[in-house]
Symmetry: C2
Subunit: 271 residues, 2 copies
Amino acid sequence: MKEMALIEQVLKATSVLVREKYSERASVSVTSKSEANDLLTEVDLAVQEYIVEQISLLFPDDLIAAEEGDFANIPSDPDCRCWVIDPIDGTQNFVRGLFPAFGISVALAVGGTAVAGGVALPIPRDIFLAERGAGAFRSGGGFSEAAGRGRRLTVTQTAEVGLSRIEIDFSGRRERGETLRRAGKVVTTAGQIRCNCATVVALCSIASGDMEAFVHVALNPWDYAAGQLIVEEAGGRATRLDGSPLRLFDHGRGVLITNGHIHQEVISLLE
Amino acid sequence: MKEMALIEQVLKATSVLVREKYSERASVSVTSKSEANDLLTEVDLAVQEYIVEQISLLFPDDLIAAEEGDFANIPSDPDCRCWVIDPIDGTQNFVRGLFPAFGISVALAVGGTAVAGGVALPIPRDIFLAERGAGAFRSGGGFSEAAGRGRRLTVTQTAEVGLSRIEIDFSGRRERGETLRRAGKVVTTAGQIRCNCATVVALCSIASGDMEAFVHVALNPWDYAAGQLIVEEAGGRATRLDGSPLRLFDHGRGVLITNGHIHQEVISLLE
């Protein structure tokens, strides 16, 4: 599939750029967007610009929705072909922190559903790729495993929330009260709680068997387009918080993505 | 100081062991302790055994308090010399996860206060060292910076909770309800929330200017002995949740460690 090859190529190329910039991140220029904690760097912009350019060369008629600038719009035609890009998800963690938990996300959606997608985690040199109906695969090493192209990903078989690691995303300050109220029982019931505030990292973790669930009360499509597909192709499940279908462009808000086995139990714990 | 040299030596030696074991972690044997999510590996035991052995050779009369096995006792003599060890803090993150957020912690306490301490983060090859009254220093690289021995650490000058990154530790399942109740206002007020469930990583992050505060409602002394000293020597502040002094062996529970500038505001937000 020509689209998959393009996704892999842009993820590899932008990972090199992001690694270079990360090694000198003290000198990267940072600005705030909607509020002081919503950050944008020159690196987000450079990555997005490169990916948009490459897509436009090969697929000039496709739409593009991306996190930054003029591209941050949700297409109104539900049947369109639309590329969905987050140049850096986890920009806060790019800017500061001892561990580089951030990634680059690119997906192609047709009719409001991702059909091809990939996530790169530049510092551990991980790339996760999935095509609808053809499985999810990880190439690149991570910090602990030998590199090896094409390991197929599968979610865990864990079937109890009390034995599960769950990411509760507290990133948006405006939604924190709502998150506490709706996900409070998940917090007290889960085996382990994490909050890294990088959706793509959590979703790749579910696909690779390193986590069981991800809960977010208000998420933009570029944050989960590729990650949702990767988890689904690894055997997991993705819905809105009430269990209804998770679409990309329906202006819904909450997102629940799990290994599938604990999905219903998490829904029953959400308020 | 002979004790500082010993701390640095054991951290370096055990970091090598932990890196080796991490690269083959799928085959590391894991057991549960008090509950299914409280994990112990052969690596925790090997690291603790090595550190205890090295301390006993040089300082045979000193007491030792450490996380695992028979050493998990708090000394009753408040004036004793006691080494306080956590062989791996963040064992859950050693066992699984895409990012290696765990560390080794060693401190010497005299009269219930750490006077020398160090933390190693084995995968990024970071070592943080502090001696009471002499500052905190980082050698080793991390993922983004050039290695360079002896960079002095200082906390951030951030003076508002709303602009701060704060780790709320939800690790202990039994204390999650209490954590939600007491720290709920901190969650809704903070600039950014994180929960990595590795105390030493959070405390080194505060000392290095990558985070502003850490809140835990029930913590054992081996989790914070070295980290508290490193933050204080980097200019930060450590107390119980009510602002009273944070001692190692007084059987107190809650811990608040910050950059100092937001300390009072966090206390005012805690219930």
